[in-house]
Subunit: 323 residues, 2 copies
């Protein structure tokens, strides 16, 4: 089976690790998993290129993630950034650990040598053992794109980098809209559109529907590929019981005037979504098109077992729809 | 008093820290110390610009040096470079600690922003408190220069970066000659020539006479400034008892067919050297021009007291020559 997933950071990575475990536990394998990662979050800090969603996927699937916080490296130290602070170098609101910085230094060096983000991601993924897991991790595009957030500050509209809004402002300043710099000149990275078109199953993990999956959908060709693929497209609601499981998806949805609910999120995917998992807490209030097949099960990824069960349910729904 | 010194790394830095302490202990102060640092050792590693002699001077004078090894930072960790190794990134023979890398990341970022090495060094020095010590640290040039070493390998002449010869090869492969890439297009950094011309005293610490001080002497204008300055020029022999106090100065001198002795080193400085400190072990065998004033005292910088005594003797000799 060839499964393709679109993913952001923490939630997507945890879901996909569960999916990978579930796939390995099945007796009809081996199965291939292609992950198309959001790179709109990418940011240049201290002259180094940081790709937070790609890194979270690498570390989570490769066994190097800080399990407690969901991002960054386990057993991390922060000596280097402390030195930058001593030199008066800003910003300091984005925490970059020494181990994590190893990834950014390698990425930046390879990019400077002329390698594409796809090629760099492949080299990084090799170290984390993704090929051996039959996982292919693709950045959504090889173009330099960055999500910026338009906010009102001091009675003026200002665009700030997504990370500044997300981390420094904690998404507490209302987003007027999101602007993805560079996306008009972008094209999908090699393999991305084909991975959607030729998949047996397409899954949308419970990643942020606006600033993670929503950004991938803006890459030219991706949305058309999702509309056109013969594979069933099944998603997992990132909204449970009226709020996001994690992060600031509510603030993102509000900026788009979309209801903070599984119904609201599903409406963003309405032109290609075939199946949708919602939490029992939201099942009664859910409303969507008749053609959308909805299943409910607990969607909190509390531990490996609950995460694997959600991944298994998403895959099962897709296989049912495919049959 | 305005004192100007030319310096390489460990030996020069330790001598100059002693000189700074001695100057502060005198009752005829305050005195200004300008240090012209060799940048021929500079190397780009992992896309980051490393300036070993400048950094050793910063850390030693600023109180951040690893006292035992003489270079690098105290309380250092090596998490980042370990990650690079895990990603298969070479070379690994040059040890870059996490704290040390903070300097290289800051330097590289500022250089990429268009600041000159002089400007970058000034920013770095501010953090290490050099201005408060009345110490000005100047790179010898703002041009991109690199010392390369011509060696014979596999019956072929090859040029390798100085650091590769010095560290990876431990200078065990005979150097045929030294080539300073970029030096023909270089000019002295702002303030360098004036610091020599207008100094009251010029000192040459016991730095490597070939690949540290010798490289600074190759910067256009520096040697002429030393010949022309009215200040006495006094040096400290880096050779004691027939060998270098530290490092591979013997291998460097042999490449130039210069005797590994205080006499040999003084011959490299003969057109501008006024005073010369040699160790008692070398006093009897020393031969040099009659115009050169030679003093002998123990030249091993074993501790702060012996280091300060050497610095004080160099300054005293200069002041005697000046009177």
């Amino acid at each position: 089976m060839r499964i393709t997933a679109l993913a952001g950071g923490v939630g997507g990575a945890r879901f996909l690790r569960g999916l990978r475990r579930h796939l390995d536990s099945r007796d009809d394998g081996p199965h291939d998993l292609t992950i198309i990662a959001n790179t709109g979050d990418d940011i240049t800090l201290f002259g180094l290129r940081v790709s937070p969603d790609v890194d979270t996927l690498l570390y989570t699937l490769g066994g190097g993630i800080h399990e407690g916080q969901g991002w960054g490296r386990a057993d991390e130290t922060f000596a280097l950034q402390g030195e930058l602070a001593a030199y008066g170098v800003e910003p300091q609101w984005f925490g970059l650990g020494d181990r994590d910085l190893g990834t950014h230094v390698a990425r930046s060096m390879w990019l400077a040598q002329g390698q594409s983000p796809s090629q760099v991601t492949e080299r990084l993924a090799a170290r984390w053992g993704l090929p051996e897991q039959r996982v292919q991790l693709l950045p959504m595009t090889d173009a330099f794109v960055e999500t910026h957030v338009v906010v009102e500050q001091d009675d003026q509209q200002q665009a700030v980098h997504f990370q500044e809004w997300w981390i420094r402002m904690q998404a507490a300043v209302p987003a007027q809209r999101f602007v993805v710099a560079g996306l008009d000149r972008a094209s999908a990275a090699p393999g991305v559109l084909d991975a959607i078109r030729s998949a047996d199953v397409v899954l949308l993990p419970p990643s942020n529907p606006v600033v993670s999956i929503g950004i991938i959908l803006l890459v030219p060709g991706v949305r058309d590929a999702l509309r056109g693929t013969s594979a069933p497209v099944v998603g997992v609601s990132p909204i449970v019981g009226g709020g996001p499981v994690r992060g600031h998806a509510d603030a993102c949805l509000k900026a788009l005037d979309v209801e903070v609910s599984p119904s609201g999120v599903a409406s963003l995917y309405r032109d290609f979504l075939d199946g949708w998992l919602v939490d029992p807490a939201d099942a009664a209030s859910f409303s969507g098109p008749a053609a959308l097949t909805v299943r409910d099960l607990p969607l909190l990824m509390k531990d490996a077992a609950s995460t694997d069960a959600i991944a298994a349910a998403a895959l099962d729904l897709a296989l049912t729809l495919r049959a």
